[in-house]
């Protein structure tokens, strides 16, 4: 966990309102685990007042990548940062995805911008990254990784080729049917994958309804699933108790106890 002033190396509009920013942040890259996030000060002024959390999309040596969608004031500010400018970051923060046992088949489910943390995860799972956590190596032999990418329309499907380049199997679902399965990615999972073969693990990130559906499917098929949750954050480091979600044992902090949770840690009806 560091507070660093990171230089912007590039900040590109990929498609529609999606951007990728690359920052020089050696310390954060050194420690980063898939599923962790950085808490970013997007402006020097008071609008917005608070930092904004973003998943770590990738690290390459000293360079940190964030994949983000412009949805409001803070992300709009972020999208205006230019090469050479500096950003104040806290990170890496939170608990990432976990995978201790050996496994053969893993499904990654991304809804929209939820793809952001899953690329870094796939990379580690497929051992494309030498830096595997010392405490918890994600994987030792090559597993089969199926990545489901879902979005509203074709243009919103991000990173498909990147996942293929890693050696993952990529499947697409769009709500308008302009690419792949026509419908929600969670329905795709429910209808065409789970009934036929049970994965060892499911990792998911995306909008709440999608995650709820995955929680439901996980109960039905007795899957061990992990999801990355969102909640509006204050401190981002566990001190303010502002970002809680409800678990059977009381409140959990998204920023410190998460953002990645096992589905059974969460009281889904309270989200």
């Amino acid at each position: 966990m560091y507070q660093v002033i990171a230089e912007v190396l590039s900040n590109k509009n990929i498609t529609l309102n999606y951007f990728k920013i690359t920052l020089n942040a050696p310390e954060i890259c050194q420690d980063a685990q898939p599923g962790q996030f950085v808490h970013v000060k997007v402006t020097a002024g008071y609008a917005p007042l608070l930092r904004r959390p973003f998943s770590i999309h990738d690290t390459r040596d000293e360079n940190l990548e964030i994949l983000y969608q412009v949805v409001g004031e803070g992300t709009a500010f972020l999208s205006q940062k230019e090469k050479g400018e500096k950003l104040d970051l806290l990170g890496p923060l939170g608990q990432g995805f976990e995978s201790k046992e050996n496994f053969r088949k893993v499904i990654l489910v991304a809804g929209g911008i939820g793809v952001a943390p899953l690329y870094f995860l796939a990379k580690r799972l497929l051992n494309h990254d030498s830096k595997i956590s010392d405490q918890a190596p994600l994987k030792s032999c090559h597993p089969k990784i199926i990545v489901l990418l879902g979005a509203g329309i074709r243009k919103q499907i991000l990173c498909a080729q990147d996942f293929k380049n890693l050696g993952a199997t990529v499947k697409i679902a769009t709500e308008d049917g302009s690419w792949g399965y026509k419908g929600l990615v969670s329905d795709f999972l429910a209808e065409t994958l789970l009934p036929y073969s049970k994965p060892d693990l499911v990792f998911a990130c995306g909008p709440l309804p999608m995650l709820k559906k995955i929680a439901q499917l996980s109960r039905k098929y007795r899957l061990s699933s992990q999801v990355s949750l969102e909640q509006r954050m204050g401190c981002g480091i566990g001190a303010c108790l502002g970002c809680v979600v409800t678990s059977p044992e009381g409140y959990l902090r998204v920023c410190k106890d998460g953002p990645v949770f096992r589905v059974n840690q969460i009281l889904w009806e309270r989200l």
Partner: protein, 305 residues
Amino acid sequence: MNPNLKIKLGRISLKNPVLAASGTFGYGEDYSRFIDLNQLGGIITKTVTLEPKEGNRPPRLAETPSGLLNSIGLENPGLKVFLREKLPFLQQFNTALVVNIAGEKEEEYLRLAERLDRVKGIDALEINISCPNVKTGGLIFGTKPRLVFSLVKRIREVTDIPLITKLTPNVTDIAEIAQAAEEAGTEALSLINTLVGMAIDVETRKPKLGNVTGGLSGPAIRPIAIRMVRQTFQKVNLPLIGVGGIMTAEDALEFILAGASAVAIGTANFIDPKTMIKVRDGIREYLRQNNIGEFKDLIGWLNLD
């Protein structure tokens, strides 16, 4: 010149006048990864209650123009866990340690004070009187001089630890409440706590906070806090800790010129964990530039003509 930043709030000695405000700094652990806690004038803990408290349902935070609404609802693990798991960590540091306490009944405050009285290394108790008083039907303790007087006086009787009373701004006359606390024997006052506010998502037509209303903090409330410090400074003879929207040394200096003997930093910690260090350094720099050797000479130095 190296200005002297030391300041005494009654019997409470601070090495510099910058403290962490209650509830925004947890019990120090999280922030110790980012700053050296030994550099702080003091740490005021998140409110501790007698029993564990679950807090309010999420969402608990909402942003407003230059402000933050929170409805944490005093979530904390309760006194026992605090003493066992949180306090030992805080006791390691060379900084004043202030434990903020609250209850729904007078008895809860008294039990807390009694138990903490026996603990080493606590420099002061901060009495959070912004809690609804169950006995008087949910009325906030801090809004009635009579209740404040009685509460502070009784706590005073059960402990010798210096008491800081933290005032709520949601009152007609904060100086009147301050005077009640003074008469009851508080050592210092903290002001202000948050202002009650609300925000609504017009698309869903739902309140932005699960608890409907919450407390407003951040730069938006600073002018109100400064006014209340000034108003209280003119009416009581106690040292004041100024709180509310301090983001920079300049903001802190406004409070000090208005009459605060120290300042506490809340929301700004979220935005920059180094705020407190920067504020301390900025105050020192201001003293240096203005050739003022003693921090305490600056307190309440307002030019009125």
